[in-house]
């Protein structure tokens, strides 16, 4: 594999992590740590394959995946905001519940254990002409560019502005930073939290659609393989800032792309796979020590 192709696959592998991380980031800014990204991603992938096969349209499939994710996210949010559930446990429970429901449907409706292959699944199109492949360095990456990757990066680019300078961004930040105050000035802070959790579900659903429709066109129970948690790792690592989080996502995506190569060099893939988690652990310690210093001075 040449360097150009490594870049291309790194970008492709970054997209689902980036989408889910942006959703989770918005959610955390409003004060909810979303452990259930994985569940919504998995549900999104499942819905995307079914709808894509039924309609032959990647747009409808992606939209359906996003809406399925948003619906799950909204219900999940209600359990936290209206019924006082602990968000961590509810998130872990959601992951188990959704995996259970999907597995059940898979084996009952489709009589298959683990994998769903359907006919005529429309994959994500390439938006740029394939002639670009011969551009040096970024050629293959450009030629492989799909609409959801573009959307992911556009979202990343727009998010700092949305959070900093729009009304809804202000509401979200106010809810997360000072929920008492947000309430006292008349903001519906629970509704805002529900909205952001639905957002997180929306983007995680899209992430799932990307995983399912970018090249394989099938669903597998292990398709997400912890990417929801990598996304969580990314916005913790990026301290909820869109641009830094995007860098973390790119790093994790590149790591995943390089994994196959490093394996050939004799490095154990299982250990390389733990690197994102180790990095978050280190980042967590560094951030906590800094915060302590700040508060003690």
């Amino acid at each position: 594999m040449q360097f150009e192709h490594l870049i291309a696959s790194a970008i492709m592998l970054t997209t689902p992590i980036l989408l889910a991380a942006m959703g989770g980031l918005i959610n955390r800014r409003a004060g909810i740590v979303n452990i259930g990204l994985e569940a919504k991603m998995l549900a999104g992938a499942f819905v995307a394959v079914i709808v894509s096969s039924a309609t032959g349209s990647w747009i409808i499939a992606s939209l359906a995946a996003a809406l399925a994710g948003a619906a799950i996210g909204w219900l999940f949010s209600l359990s936290i905001t209206r019924a006082g559930a602990n968000m961590i446990v509810a998130g872990l429970g959601l992951n188990i519940l959704v995996a259970g429901v999907l597995g059940f449907i898979l084996s009952w409706v489709y009589r298959s254990s683990g994998t769903l292959r359907l006919p005529d699944v429309a994959l994500l199109p390439k938006i740029l002409p394939s002639g670009l492949e011969f551009v040096p360095l970024v050629g293959p990456a450009l030629a492989m560019l799909d609409p959801l990757t573009l959307l992911a990066w556009m979202t990343t680019g727009a998010l700092p502005f949305v959070l900093a300078s729009t009304r809804i961004g202000l509401w979200i930040r106010a809810t997360g930073n000072a929920s008492e105050m947000a309430r006292s000035v008349g903001l519906q802070h629970l509704t805002i939290q529900d909205f952001t959790t639905a957002c997180a579900g929306f983007f995680s659903g899209l992430a799932g659609a990307h995983l399912a429709l970018v090249s394989l066109g099938l669903f597998n129970e292990g398709l997400t393989s912890g990417r929801g948690f990598i996304a969580l790792a990314a916005f913790y690592f990026g301290r909820d800032r869109p641009i830094t989080t995007a860098f973390a996502c790119m790093l994790f995506g590149a790591l995943e792309a390089a994994q196959i190569r490093l394996q050939l060099e004799g490095l154990p893939p299982k250990l390389i796979g733990t690197l994102p988690y180790v990095m978050v652990l280190i980042a967590l310690v560094v951030v906590s020590i800094q915060a302590q210093r700040k508060s003690s001075t």
């Binding site: 452990i35 872990l92 429970g93 959601l94 084996s107």
Partner: protein, 345 residues
Amino acid sequence: MVNVLVRSLDIVLPLLVAFSIAAIVLLTIGENPVEILTLMATEAFGNVRRFAATLSASTPLLFTAVATAICFRSGVFNVGVDGAFVLGGLAAIFIAFKLPASLGAGLIPLAFIAAAVTGGFWLWLPGVLLAKYEADEVVSTLMLNFIAAGISGYLVNGPLLSPQSGNNVTPLIHETAELERLMPPSTLHAGFIIGLLCIIAYWIWCRNTPSGFEGAVVGQNPRFARAVGISVPAIIILVMVFSGVIAGFGGASHGLGQMHRFSDGFSPGYGFTGMAVALLARNHPIGILFGAVLFGALASAGTTIQLFSNIPLDLVNIIQGTVMIFAVIEAARLMKNRRRQTHAV
């Protein structure tokens, strides 16, 4: 009186909702829920052999639920029991196949000690990070689970790979290191009794020791705890290490009693099922025993149901996930007081 009612509702509600959802799922696929659930109950408790299978399936959960409860009752949100279980199990199995078989049954205590040290160290780490630097324990323990899976996956595919077999497994442990089967041919083994001892030890620790009392105070009101001179950081580290030791014991028991070797998928999420048990039991030892048996019954009956009536085993996951979500929903809040705001973790 009202308080007692609300508290029992807290325990009954999650089960009620979970089984209602299971019933709805069964209705949707055209099965009679009463029939299937009765069948499951018979499969789980119908005769001595089946009951033994249920207890066997509940054995790992006794450990992981106690390990979770130790931390939860002190307000420490440790979700890393699964990782400590896996690495503890691997350490025990390593001792039990690596050391000479001539050590005989002496291998068993050595293996348990290795598991306890490994598990204890593994959760000591996030304990110190939380106590010293206030590093969020949810994130650190969550990450440590993945790291534990990576390390064990690497070891069983590389340095500890069995030379005789293909992928992902260590050699079998020496027969002398196997925990005794209590009721052959069922797989129920002496680990169940060790699990019961852990529950009793946890109970005694909660009720009769200073650190157990201090742990409860820290859980209920950390500011008060600090005010009366309890060292909150010391308690945090202590409960984390205890949790790791018990989780390690669980791994050792599962390894020496059930699996007899380490393979990928050593824990199909025992740590998280244990969490569901601890939440349902509200950290109470008796509740943990019943909760573990309930989830053991679901797992063992679920497998049979899948075989005989084609109903996917995933039904068990649906029930478990629902129990977890509804176990943390504040039932009382649903009925009244809708204006109170949520607290961030």
